[in-house]
Symmetry: C2
Subunit: 477 residues, 2 copies
């Protein structure tokens, strides 16, 4: 039986000026986590969130994380955790978001003041953090407020975990989540994260997978210092020549990874999974629009999305130590470090990938017969994540989308990684759902970041409706 959501929806519509005002106040606090001089604003933003949550009746704590590693003169911003409702007969949903933002300066090319929420005639609300991630975070607050005003009880217990360092590596968060999984977060039945985006601009999506990332460095060194190419060109082994040879053996123009055995680790495509793709609202024009060119590799949207979501990729990012400025310099660099990464998917285990990569690169270098010295190492890795889209957490969200937007959501994965997803899954052992509010055109991390008013207001309805469907879903889906 569908829950009765009309009174809640009505209140969201009535309160929408208040909700926009809440977002305006939040955007006005330049809580840029990457810049020392804004650390006080990140704290101010935590205070703002905590006070809003308290005035709505939540039990709130601001939990310190200590000094910032490597920048010991700075305190890390607190994790704002909150509980709203404590009814043993209700499901408990743990929601995550972040209240810090990317840097932004008007002179970077913003059309409006980045820390003043500015709505245009199309209902686009411009401002740093509007979509990433203040809008979604405030969405949960809006849900509570609209329920209170409508006189409807929240159908679940809500646990909030809002961090202030997401744009700077989520310093300290993983340990915090791990520690609280048996304490503040121990009742959580499922997790919902609203910090990604729709695939397009019209149709909401639920995200059930992310690729991992193994990031590698290859160094080649020879002479003790940089050499002049006039003096030594032709008589000394050049590290750059060798590095370029090795990098050229990693991936071909069509994105095919050349490391033997690597593709054998990839989970085969099933017919079931294949069927998820044709209905997804995405076109080759969408790809060309986001590339700004027609340089896509694959001819169909299905192949394109699979290449992005469920197959690995290898990208060469650059070379450290070589000449990288404009102009001309006739240097033979003494030591060069190539950087590349592999986006990983089920069932590629990091250790297996590393072994294949290291063995292959060392073997290829040996073939060169160079007197230079090669080293290859993993800089960092992050695991891929795939959840079951048939879990009640997802079916509830899917029904909520249908209710609010009148369409079935796209079931999507993402090519990039959102490490906190895996942290929550591993710490709580519960299903994690990514339920985005913003659309693909929101320009998170770029100039002119925005959140459409529709996404914010209907998105607040979606978050609330999701909680209602969650409370009604049978235990086993």
């Amino acid at each position: 039986m569908a829950p009765q959501l009309e009174p809640f929806f009505q209140q969201v519509d009535n309160l929408s000026p208040t909700f926009v005002d809440r977002l305006r106040k939040a955007v006005a606090i330049p809580s840029v986590s990457a810049q020392d001089e804004n650390r006080k604003d990140v704290f101010k933003m935590a205070e703002f969130l905590a006070s809003e949550l308290e005035s709505l009746g939540a039990e709130v704590q601001q939990r310190p994380l200590g000094k910032q590693p490597g920048k010991e003169h700075l305190e890390l911003p607190p994790v704002v955790i909150a509980r709203y409702g404590n009814d043993k007969n209700k499901r408990t949903i743990l929601v995550y978001g972040h209240y810090d933002v990317q840097p932004a300066l008007k002179e970077d090319g913003w059309a409006t003041e980045p820390f003043e929420l500015t709505e245009d005639s199309q209902g686009r609300m411009y401002g740093r953090g509007s979509t990433d991630d203040k809008g979604p975070v405030l969405g949960w607050l809006n849900v509570i407020e609209a329920h209170k005003k409508a006189g409807i009880e929240l159908p679940v217990n809500l646990l909030c975990c809002f961090e202030g360092m997401e744009e700077y590596g989520s310093e300290g968060l993983e340990e915090f989540i791990q520690a609280e999984s048996t304490k503040f977060f121990k009742d959580a039945d499922a997790v919902c994260i609203s910090d990604n985006y729709w695939l397009g601009t019209e149709k909401p999506c639920l995200t059930y997978g992310l690729r991992g990332c193994n990031y590698y460095s290859i160094s080649v060194s020879g002479p003790a210092q940089d050499l002049h190419s006039g003096v030594f060109g032709g008589s000394a082994h050049e590290p750059m020549t060798d590095l370029v040879q090795i990098l050229s053996k990693l991936v071909d123009t069509h994105g095919r990874i050349l490391v033997p055995g690597l593709m054998d680790l990839v989970e085969p495509l099933t017919e079931d999974e294949k069927r998820l793709y044709p209905d997804i609202s995405y076109t080759m024009e969408n790809l060309h629009e986001s590339l700004g060119s027609e340089t896509g590799i694959h001819p169909t949207k299905e192949q394109t999305l699979m290449a992005r979501w469920r197959y690995p990729s290898l990208s060469i990012h650059g070379i450290e130590g070589a000449y990288s400025a404009p102009g001309a310099k006739t240097v033979i660099p003494a030591k060069v470090i190539g950087k590349f990464s592999i986006r990983t998917v089920p069932n590629m285990e990091s250790a297996d990938v590393n072994k294949l990569v290291f063995d292959y690169i060392r073997a290829e270098f040996a073939k060169l017969n160079s007197k230079n010295t090669l080293d290859v190492w993993l800089q960092h890795d992050g695991k891929w994540w795939v959840a079951s889209p048939k879990h009640w957490n997802f079916t509830a969200a899917s029904k909520a989308v249908k209710q609010v937007f009148g369409v079935e959501p796209d079931m999507t994965r993402e090519g990039g990684s959102i490490p906190v997803t895996l942290s929550f899954e591993q710490a709580t052992g519960k299903n994690v759902l990514l339920l985005p509010m913003g659309s693909s055109t929101d320009a998170a991390h770029s100039i002119n970041e925005k959140l459409d008013k529709r996404n914010y207001i209907e998105g607040s309805k979606l978050l609330g409706a999701y909680l209602h469907y969650v409370s009604e879903e049978p235990m086993k889906a």
Copy 2:
């Protein structure tokens, strides 16, 4: 008949404290041509030189070169030109040097103040510009002074051309030389340049060849802006992947250039030329010492020197637009520009080299079947130069070396380029000799630049002795 040089040599020895003092005064003027704030010092150094030359009885002019292109607030330093002697019955030798220096800061790692000439117990005189090129320039002044003091007439007419922008591209000099070739320099019978170095530390050399340099850029572009490798890795053609493929086709680990047809342009090695190499004072240990490693390509000194001097080489210098900082960044660069250069030798004409390079790179890129866009262009070229080491200009210098140092000089070429050499040859149509004063350990352009007192004092004798032998050599050698 060998000229009577003893009285001159005696005077050089007597005057050596004066000569060292002259060098001390010159080093104390920080005539750094690359730094705006030192431009006044470059002018001061021109004034110093002009006044020293005048007091020795030379006819001197400081010739302005106008505003500095691209830095119109700066006047270019003058070319100091001088004539000493105007006897139609004597040969006229045009000598070149430069009075500007590379930048230097104590904090770069100098053991002494860079602009204070500091002699150590081994007779090493440290100071910026000591060897490059103030010592050699003052050597010519020392020659005049020692002749005057000895009461010996200079056996040739001397024309001087001392410039103040050599370390910053010799702005304006080529046009000046061209213009004066029919005026101030019109009597020159041969040219002598002292601005390079001995191959080692013990044995002087005469340099009769230089490699040229063609510097290329290859750009590959695809998307309109940088992409996130998580989102687009695997679905878009990556410019960096393509560039690395192309760069890997240019040269192999052993320095073999892979551009088809290029080696066919190289002048074959003759038996005559081959015979010049075994006697050259150079060892594989010298190579390893200057590399700071044992990563030389060739097993013998002959092959090593030929690879440096008389065969072309191709070096990949770096990539502009890719990620080049330490650490990890998961970017797919939108446009990358690879830089490489080819050191050219007889008979590689620049236009022929360009055509082979462009055709090959375009053909290799076409094979990739990429949707990205490639461009390749020449950034700049400079021609190789080879003089006849049998010309009287060289035989005179060779006899002078034998007289002063008691050994036959090494007949060397250089792997790098000294563009002014070609400018003088082309403008005057006369034989050009490179007659270095400093040794291979002088660290020109580095910290702790020095000139050994022996090289300075015996070098001044060498320059004078050379002029005497020049006056006695038969017209045809």
